[in-house]
């Protein structure tokens, strides 16, 4: 599979598969709301990528893909031993922003 699509999928599936666990770890309404929005945005990016049929032929997209892969790896490590939900949400925010940026850039490429 195309590496950009694969990373966008990884971001969405990581948040979606672990939503219950992450939600239980949230201690404030703001955190819960933030988590819901992150999962939604990751899902939006996923279906936009499929619908647009995006192609990673853009050097900026390729650069962002590498950064997204790095963020996804950190998310995976963090999920294996989840201790600090605030830190996790910051990490996930970075990943979701990258996924959304890629879909926007690739769509206009």
């Amino acid at each position: 599979m195309d590496p950009t699509l694969d990373q966008i999928k990884t971001t969405f599936f990581s948040l979606d598969d672990n939503f219950d666990t992450l939600y239980a770890q949230c201690t404030t309404d703001d955190q819960r709301s933030h988590l819901r929005d992150l999962e939604s945005s990751a899902e939006d990016a996923y279906w936009k990528a499929v619908a647009d049929g995006l192609v990673d032929n853009n050097t900026v997209v390729q650069k962002f893909t590498v950064q997204l892969q790095d963020a996804n790896n950190q998310i995976k490590t963090s999920l294996e031993n989840l201790k600090d939900i605030a830190a996790f949400l910051n990490l996930a925010t970075e990943a979701v922003k990258l996924a959304a940026a890629i879909t926007t850039l690739a769509a206009s490429a």
Binding site: M1, D16, Y23, E39, W47, A49, V50
Partner: protein, 331 residues
């Protein structure tokens, strides 16, 4: 009077020779063409059914997200998400239309080989080319439309040399059909990643709905448990199973989660196999058309095996989907 007859005979002879030269002498086997047509139509109609079922799955995905939202607190689908999924559903409708057109074209190709129904094949070829171009547009690609030559399939007639002309038409129809198959093959290769990604999302979503329904006591895992019985003479004890699940609920939740995750992965892998089989079958059809046009014997056994394998894989997908845990209410 005799002179008039001679002139008519001469005119028919000239027209026949011109028609024959235009269409070309051919050693195409009409029997092979008929069997090729049957296989091509089977392939195309199987692909139509497979494509239409994915449209329904995409619609069910959206509905499933609303259910998950109600059960877990996740946001329900955004307007953008629904718009994008509907765009994919539209593209699938376009794909289904393309393979319906291919089915019709193969049926008319078979009729051409059997009865010389030139007008029918010309019309269906035009429909196929239009459908290919429409699908190419949805995918943002060019399909290199081929339209020249269809007219010659319809216009050439000469009763005296009908068989040779019919073979020539079959050859020309095969050439046009093959070029469209190549276009379709290129479009499918272009859509492969996106098709599989969409299926991955749909199957993943379906698994998530099943797990959440089970976790929230809306789904009954009986069918999963019963799958383990059968060949050793044991029968399912409904009351006993319910008691066992209730006693060891956390352990069962983990087990059912893992089983559904495993079934999701199996379905995702199966989708990839089906897609590859579709491409292989298309490659096989293209290769056999080339042989047919060259007057070489067609390897129908391999082609039929490819089409049969595709049908078997599609049936396996249906069976795997049917195995998704039911959501019958708990008693």
């Amino acid at each position: 009077m005799t002179m008039v007859l001679y002139r008519r005979f001469f005119a028919i002879l000239v027209l026949s020779v011109v028609a024959l030269l235009a269409i070309g002498c051919s050693s195409v086997s009409k029997d092979d063409a008929s069997t090729l047509a049957t296989n091509g139509a089977n392939f195309a109609s199987t692909t139509v059914a497979g494509t239409l079922s994915t449209q329904a799955e995409l619609q069910r995905y959206i509905e499933g997200r609303y259910i998950v939202g109600a059960l877990t607190g996740e946001n329900t689908p955004t307007q953008n998400e629904v718009v994008n999924i509907n765009r994919i559903i539209t593209a699938r409708a376009c794909r289904a239309h393309l393979f319906q057109a291919l089915t019709a074209t193969y049926q008319s190709f078979g009729n051409l080989a059997a009865y010389d129904t030139s007008g029918q094949v010309g019309k269906s070829m035009t429909g196929l080319i239009d459908a290919t171009n429409a699908y190419a547009k949805v995918l943002g690609a060019d399909a290199n439309p081929i339209s020249s030559g269809i007219e010659s399939l319809v216009s050439a007639t000469a009763e005296q040399i009908a068989d040779q002309i019919q073979k020539g038409k079959v050859k020309r129809a095969s050439e046009i059909l093959r070029s469209q198959l190549q276009n379709i093959r290129n479009l499918m290769a272009k859509e492969q990643d996106f098709w599989l990604l969409a299926q991955d999302g749909v199957i993943h979503g379906s698994g998530k709905v099943a797990i959440e329904l089970w976790k929230h006591n809306v789904a009954d895992p009986s069918s999963i448990l019963q799958d383990q019985l059968g060949q050793f003479g044991l029968t399912y004890d409904t009351a006993g199973a319910k008691a066992a699940v209730a006693t060891s609920r956390p352990a069962f939740e983990k087990a059912i989660d893992n089983i559904i995750a495993s079934r999701v992965q199996y379905q995702v892998d199966l989708q990839a196999v089906v897609f590859i089989q579709m491409l292989q079958t298309l490659d096989g059809l293209i290769a056999e058309h080339t042989k047919l046009e060259a007057g070489k014997p067609v390897d129908l056994a391999t082609l039929t095996a490819n089409v049969d394998a595709l049908i078997a894989f599609v049936n396996e997908v249906d069976a795997a989907i049917a195995k998704t845990p039911t959501t019958s209410a708990k008693n």
